[in-house]
């Protein structure tokens, strides 16, 4: 399975293209290996040479989406160093633009029928970035990883509600919400 081999590249891209075609009419979890192979004109035995499940093929795509997420997240850093989410211009929170851009992918990510691997890929990437903003000893006796996990999944919670509402709000509106919540949690109700 030489990755340079043109035959391998061709086979993989045929399968990926076939998956995209099928995804327009069939939900991911209902797509059979047999069906992808039929659509791609690839022998079923060949499929198992490269992938083991239909989701494996989807995984390849998702890598690119995650790359775009990182680019989006890096955006505001270009202008604000150090990064403090509570003080930044909400317009520069680009994650919601990224999600809206890949809406059809994220509908799969948040669908209750697909497994959690894509959710965790998203979670990990956001944790990476939230961790970058972390200031040591922010909260005494609570380790960084828990605070980061808390904050990263909170953002995803916002996105899940957005997803449940059919992604109706604009990305700008969502950025504003996040900005307001984070600011509020830092300012209201102080003793």
């Amino acid at each position: 399975m030489n990755k340079q081999d043109m035959r391998v590249l061709k086979t993989k891209s045929s399968l990926q293209q076939a998956l995209l075609t099928l995804l327009k009419t069939i939900p991911l979890e209902k797509i059979k290996i047999t069906e992808i192979c039929r659509e791609a004109n690839i022998n079923r035995g060949t499929f198992y040479l490269h992938y083991t499940t239909v989701e494996d093929v989807f995984h390849d795509f998702f890598q690119e989406v995650i790359l775009d997420l990182q680019t989006s997240y890096d955006e505001p850093y270009k202008y604000t160093i150090p990064f403090e989410i509570a003080k930044i211009n909400p317009k520069s929170i680009q994650i919601f633009h990224h999600i809206k851009r890949h809406q059809s992918f994220y509908e799969i990510v948040f669908s209750k029928n697909t497994n959690k691997s894509y959710y965790y890929m998203l979670f990990d990437q956001i944790r990476l970035n939230v961790g970058r903003d972390y200031k040591p000893n922010q909260i005494s006796d609570v380790s960084k990883e828990y605070i980061v996990g808390y904050q990263a999944n909170a953002i995803i919670g916002l996105v899940i509600v957005w997803y449940e509402n059919g992604f109706n709000e604009t990305p700008e509106e969502m950025s504003r919400k996040l900005h307001k919540i984070v600011r509020a949690l830092h300012t209201i109700d102080s003793p």
Copy 2:
């Protein structure tokens, strides 16, 4: 399919018991319908009379777990009304005790290979309770559902990190962490 019929009850409980037995050695997503039926001495055709997938059987169990979650969540309310998470005694945050009690279930819930339906059941239940603590106009221009989604999923974020660490910390320690984070987010960094 009369739900009163003893035969139905017997069949269902046989299948449920068989699932529990198999779960001790095989992960949920690898358990085949054929295997449950073999273990339960139930005809495969009968299985389809009551369930459609292996996960359907698991679902029945999970209902009971969610019930226990609600009971745990209700605990502190008995003593503190109105409920304010930032001011409550961390010992009375019972959710982590609940999860530790059902650790083997939650290992399935958070496994990256199972689908998101159990995650969402947990999320919904926590949202229900976070929503109960909600004070109107907490954050202007951000609707309740988004704030609740944010906070509920944040708590789950904490649990995911706990899960990743093999549930090593005690429930008391986790309650303390949540308490500290919530308090900190309400008190530090105020202008």
